[in-house]
């Protein structure tokens, strides 16, 4: 199985690798996946007073597609409002990275990480925790 050029590029030059201070009230952290399943993603967002995501960081344990999916997700998140951010769909990631069917779960994981980070932020700031439909592909 060969990777798309975009996956290779994100793998070789990942965007926004790092850690935000999770104790800050304007930082939301999502940690999804499990070591036994071969992929764990941690995605963090930092939200400004206007409700815009001013920074996003990730760290991922997983294959190249998982790394690329989370790297892409952080790029897309920056500058979006948290309401816009929830609309990021895993299939957008699949399309952008040309992921093959066996790698769709990597994009699902990235979507789950975004939602988990947003909910963490909402919870910290006294907002209602959003309920999401179970993702289809796992």
């Amino acid at each position: 199985m060969s990777y798309s050029e975009k996956v290779i590029d994100h793998y070789q030059n990942p965007k926004n690798v790092g850690t935000l201070d999770k104790s800050k009230s304007n930082v939301g952290t999502g940690l999804v996946g499990a070591p036994e399943c071969g992929d764990v993603m941690r995605l963090q967002i930092e939200v400004d007073e206007a409700g815009l995501i001013k920074d996003a960081k990730f760290k991922t344990f997983g294959c190249g597609s998982a790394i690329a999916s989370s790297s892409l997700a952080t790029e897309w998140l920056k500058g979006k409002s948290i309401d816009e951010a929830i609309t990021i769909d895993n299939m957008d990631i699949v399309e952008e990275l040309n992921l093959p069917p066996v790698k769709i779960h990597c994009s699902v994981l990235a979507e789950d990480a975004i939602k988990a980070a947003i909910n963490d932020y909402r919870q910290k700031n006294g907002l209602e925790v959003l309920k999401f439909n179970e993702s289809v592909v796992h």
Partner: protein, 405 residues
């Protein structure tokens, strides 16, 4: 000068040695005859070549030429041995003993046997990947007809105590079959000293062509028979019908001859390189050697680099180095290697493993380059790994509620 890509996946297959190819070529063109054509020079030349190859193959494993049944490869050999014994010895019993880290060609054949009314015991190997002899002996029943244990494992390179296994089998009057694909041509294998009754092996793992292998079937003490699994012209003493793959068999013979002549020297050379690779890579923090340290093929090592996922790791250098991983992501099943899991490794360590299979054409320069590339990529990916960060912060990863998906 390094030429890319570097091949370190010799457990999967090996390149044909140029001397093997050279020996084969006349048998595609001028000497194209059918070895079963008894009435003209084309047939005679082919038969003579096959007879010679049969001697070369037999010599490598200490057998008689008549005990060699040519097959299409080891998967066929595994099927023929297990199904063939099961059918031939049905009046004696229906129980087979094997182990849980056998190749799929053995495990799936055993599953088939179970559907046919046979009983199979799958021994759990010890944490070092070797069969437990006392468990093996305890598993023998009055109805046991066959013990099917691999000589060496394809993923971790461990070598089973075959002589001890066959001694136990002899004591109980049970036949021994061994899938010896990874061992033959690499380490000394002698069917008489090792007490093996049936043994499958293949040319393409020892610098011969793909599509040809052999099943050794003992003729004396005891005389072993298998029921043919393919009906036809009764070739190979009635055990394997089908026109013989003459060029393939000639190449197989040549490959065996080369392995026999060069084994001693080659083992010293390649194990030195393997040891260097292993020693250097084990210097990486949180790296774990999989499988027994001592009872191991000279050209194989399997190492897990904790907190880094295997496929992600391979991607760092797989344009230049061909390797394989026990990670789920390299297979369609999304399950990590059943062999590594059988050693009691957690799924996380199984996901983090790389298998290195060195070979006849591996150089020290290639090993040095591989050490450098693997080390750099492990370090780079750990900087990107949330698990590594947690480990460094002293967080107990078992305390986290992971969302299993």
């Amino acid at each position: 000068m390094l030429n890319f890509p570097i091949y370190l996946d010799h457990n999967a297959t090996t390149p044909c040695d140029p001397r093997v190819v050279e020996a084969m070529i006349p048998y595609f063109t001028n000497n194209f005859g059918n070895a079963a054509s008894r009435n003209h020079p084309f047939g005679w030349a082919a038969e003579e070549a096959v007879d010679y190859a049969r001697e070369q193959v037999a010599k490598l494993i200490g057998a008689e030429p008549k005990e060699i049944i040519f097959t299409s490869g080891a998967t066929e050999g595994d099927n023929l041995a297990i199904k063939g014994v099961f059918e031939m010895y049905a009046s004696k019993g229906n129980h087979i003993i094997t182990c849980n880290i056998e190749h799929k060609a053995v495990l799936d054949t055993c599953k088939h046997i179970e559907k046919e009314g046979g009983e199979v015991t799958y021994l759990k190997v010890k944490d070092n990947g070797l069969v437990d002899l006392s468990e093996l002996e305890a598993a023998i029943r009055p109805t046991t007809i066959l013990i099917a244990i691999m000589y060496a494992n394809n993923e971790i390179g461990t070598v089973n105590p075959i002589r001890e296994i066959s001694a136990i089998a002899r004591k109980h009057g049970v036949l021994v079959f061994s899938d010896a694909v990874q061992a033959v041509g690499k380490i000394p294998v002698d069917v008489n000293k090792d007490g093996i009754d049936l043994m499958a092996f293949t040319a393409h793992k020892m610098y011969g062509p793909k599509g040809v292998g052999a099943l050794y079937v003992r003729r004396k003490n005891p005389r072993v028979k298998v029921t043919a699994q393919m009906d036809g012209g009764g070739h190979e003493r009635g055990m394997r019908s089908g026109t013989l793959n003459v060029p393939g068999i000639v190449g197989f013979g040549k490959a065996c001859e080369i392995c026999l002549t060069e084994m001693e020297e080659e083992t010293i050379r390649v194990s030195k390189l393997r040891d260097k690779l292993q020693t250097e890579l084990m210097k990486i923090e949180e790296s774990y050697l999989n499988g027994d340290k001592e009872h191991k093929l000279p050209h194989v090592t399997n190492i897990s680099f904790k907190y880094v996922e295997g496929e992600g790791l391979l991607m760092g250098f797989n344009k230049n180095i061909a390797l394989s991983s026990g990670s789920a992501c390299t297979s369609a099943s999304l399950e990590p290697s059943y062999v590594l899991k059988a050693l009691g490794l957690g799924d996380d360590l199984a996901h983090s493993s790389l298998r290195f299979g060195l070979g006849r054409f591996t150089t020290e320069e290639q090993i040095d380059y591989t050490v450098e590339q693997v080390t750099n990529t492990v370090n780079k990916l750990r900087e990107m790994s949330p698990l590594w960060e947690m480990y460094k912060e002293g967080i107990d990863m078992n305390s986290i509620e992971w969302a299993h998906h």
